[in-house]
């Protein structure tokens, strides 16, 4: 059986009543557990995956490889903090491998907006030694959700 967190990770729109029925807990137990997860920051928040390409709104996403000089006593955390404070930064990960250190994912309305962020905000941060920006051309899948419409099989009727 899936536990509360797994169910919520898959679909955060499930109501506490639904979650209670699915897990065999009472609704109060669910609400209490969820509140606990939120308080302990095990659940960070609830978001929606939007395919902006299906709307009129322009949007570009870029993945930026960032090389930095780690700082004494702080490692990468301090510099990471200076990067993730920017509203534009969607995701930020510290990477293994040695080719670069941080992966920054940012979204903007236009290519120019993203270029501006890299050139004016990211690159000048003290300790950042290099950036390489990769624009995302097409999204196929995010968080297990597939963007292209999947063709459906012909309707069929079986006597099962």
């Amino acid at each position: 059986m899936k536990d509360l967190l797994q169910l919520l990770e898959d679909d955060s729109t499930l109501t506490h009543a639904q979650l209670a029925a699915m897990t065999g807990l009472t609704q109060d137990e669910v609400s209490e557990a969820v509140a606990g997860y939120e308080r302990d920051r095990i659940i960070l928040g609830y978001k929606t995956i939007v395919d902006w390409d299906r709307t009129h709104r322009e949007s570009v996403t870029a993945l930026i490889e960032v090389s930095v000089t780690p700082q004494r006593g702080e490692g990468f955390d301090r510099i990471a903090q200076r990067i993730y404070q920017y509203e534009e930064v969607e995701s930020l990960y510290l990477m293994s491998g040695g080719a670069y250190d941080l992966t920054v994912i940012i979204s903007g309305r236009t290519l120019k907006e993203v270029a501006h962020f890299v050139g004016e905000k990211l690159a000048p941060i003290e300790g950042v030694t290099g950036t390489a920006t990769h624009f995302i051309l097409k999204k196929y899948k995010e968080k297990h959700l597939i963007f292209p419409v999947q063709e459906a099989q012909e309707e069929r009727f079986v006597f099962e």
């Binding site: 059986m1 899936k2 639904q18 209670a20 699915m22 009727f157 006597f159 099962e160």
Partner: protein, 389 residues
Amino acid sequence: MMDYGKIMCRRVQDIQPSGIRKYFDMLQGMEGGISLGIGEPDFVTPWHIRDAGIYSLEKGFTKYTPNAGLSDLRQAIARYLERRFGLGYAPIGQILVTVGGSEGLDLTFRCLLEPGDEVIVPSPSFVCYGPLVSMLHSVPVMVETKAENDFRLTADELRAAITPRTKVLVLPFPNNPTGGVMGRADLEALAEVLRGTDIMVVTDEIYAELTYGQRHVSMAAIPDMYERTVVVNGFSKAYSMTGWRLGYVCGPKPLIAAMTKLHQYAIMSAPTTSQYAAIEALDHGDGDIEAMRDEYDGRRRFLVDGFRSLGLPCFEPLGAFYTFPCIKSTGLTSEQFCDRFLAEQRVAVIPGSAFGPGGEGYVRANYAASMHDLDEVLKRLERFLKSLH
């Protein structure tokens, strides 16, 4: 003018069409209709299994396989049955790969039954047993299972149904449509009745991987029952592979040999692409089974809870992916309930009566559907039940 009513064999004409069909006909073209009627997983076959099928095509594996199935597949089936259910079957001689579990059932009946032989079928159950048996001039003997027994077949019920003509007992558990399961103790009780008889057990274990709470136990694993049991299983439900049409049947060597003979005349061999995909499923699919079962389990609890809180008693189904709520309190027959629920609320569920004696007063609703749909069904059911008062 040809009179086909005179030309076609009497027996096939006497078989009634499935009671399920009309609901799909009604549902078709209905705006906003939701079906909880189809007995099919709503998952696509896991990608690595599909990929194995595709890869076999790329390699040009498009010919017939050995009649009994690919040797690698039969070995994988043997390993799987040992690993998951503690059953020991020899890949050569005791396992036949078939076109779905359905072919396995048909072959088994063909190789066992003489005209006039009786086949005990617990009911309600999947709709195929009666017609397959009748086509062989044999007699299906339907035995009603009861809600108060959790829709299990009891030893007393079995004993009462046995006559000198009884040849076969069908064990359709986990059960479609009730979701009932038979545990080890339940099977032991039946085995006690069967030991020392020549009655063969045909155990349809197509839902064996979909149990909630307790692992499925096969009749073939009960002492003294191995030699009088035929295990029918397949890939459709465990791995969401309904359209691949692949199953298998395991049993005593002479019987499997006879079945293989018939299979090679009627079918030649099961689809080659499907067989390659199935090897991948058996060897690397345990995780898929767990994931799908977990997913079904949440929906199962949700739907059962929903029926109960709307005042419809619902036995807790511990297998398959069906709920079988009791609708007697509405004063409607199963069929009236389903006709009106579909016409008034655009939801298709299937009358329990379509699954044989014992099904009246119940409807089958499957939970192989999205949570969104299940939630909507319960809302519409609430409106429907209110409208009846």
